[in-house]
């Protein structure tokens, strides 16, 4: 049997890949996918802990995480479409109106 630690290690690795992708990529859509990667890393940890404790609460939380992710993607991609309509770009470096 694979110990729970291995699943947590994989989850942390996935999360770090997502975080690095968010930092080094400038394409807003790819940054969004990195966020999805991080959410999925959290889901994996939840499911692994649920199995380890034989408690179903972790799986219920995953259900909520998926709902929030779906809502987030819907709104986020709508923002990206609106942004592209105004600016003709999806490069995070070129969208600087709200930055100081």
């Amino acid at each position: 049997m694979v110990p729970a630690t291995y699943y947590i290690a994989l989850s942390v690795l996935l999360f770090v890949i997502g975080a690095i992708g968010f930092l080094i990529r400038r394409n807003l859509i790819v940054m969004f996918m990195s966020i999805e990667l991080m959410l999925n890393a959290a889901n994996l940890a939840f499911v692994a802990f649920a199995r380890h404790q034989l408690s179903m609460d972790g799986q219920v939380i995953v259900f909520f995480v998926m709902t929030v992710a779906a809502a987030e993607v819907a709104v986020g991609l709508a923002i990206l479409i609106a942004l592209f309509r105004h600016r003709e770009t999806l490069n995070a470096d070129e969208v600087r109106m709200l930055r100081w």
Binding site: I24, A48, L54, Q59, M66
Partner: protein, 169 residues
């Protein structure tokens, strides 16, 4: 699940996750993300989370990925131009990521002894992870968050429509 299945599966997951962030073309990133999510669903099956695995494929690999691909094709994005090297940023981000991984993993190093719970090797009840059992938990103990979720979805639907509209009013 034995190490013999866990290690190749997790190696594939990591490779395709790296593909998401390293591919220059957004479409390829999205397809790598699809494979990553699918492999994670396989992992969920091995962890006795059957309903979650099905939801993972339906919601993530189905709905969310299609939305991503749809937007990429709608906006007709081409590959990122290989701009000036941002080597410093990449190095700094990777270093920060490794530090974070070290900090996050520190409490889990060693055995599972510190973790509360029955462990991964014990027998699993038949109902564990089924739709009936999760639904029961969801509609009794988690009924308030569940209702709040419906409000969240409603707001998200309205927000997406309003934001993507050309002209309002």
């Amino acid at each position: 699940m034995t190490l013999l299945t866990f290690l190749p599966l997790s190696a594939l997951i990591v490779i395709f996750a790296l593909g998401v962030i390293l591919n220059r073309h957004p479409i390829r990133s999205a397809l790598c993300l699809a494979v990553t999510l699918f492999l994670l669903a396989v992992m969920f099956v091995f962890l006795d989370a059957h309903l979650v695995a099905a939801l993972q494929i339906i919601v993530y690999a189905g709905a969310i990925l299609v939305l991503f691909l749809f937007v990429i094709m709608l906006l007709n994005l081409e590959a990122d131009i290989p701009q000036r090297r941002r080597r410093n940023l990449t190095i700094a981000a990777t270093a920060a990521g490794l530090v974070f991984a070290g900090v996050a993993l520190r409490p889990f190093l060693g055995s599972d002894a510190g973790l509360p719970g029955v462990g991964m090797s014990g027998p699993v009840p038949d109902t564990f992870g089924t739709a009936a059992a999760i639904g029961q938990r969801l509609f009794t103990h988690f009924v308030l968050p569940f209702e709040v979720t419906s409000v969240l979805l409603l707001v998200a639907v309205l927000g997406a429509v309003v934001l993507a509209k050309k002209k309002i009013g």
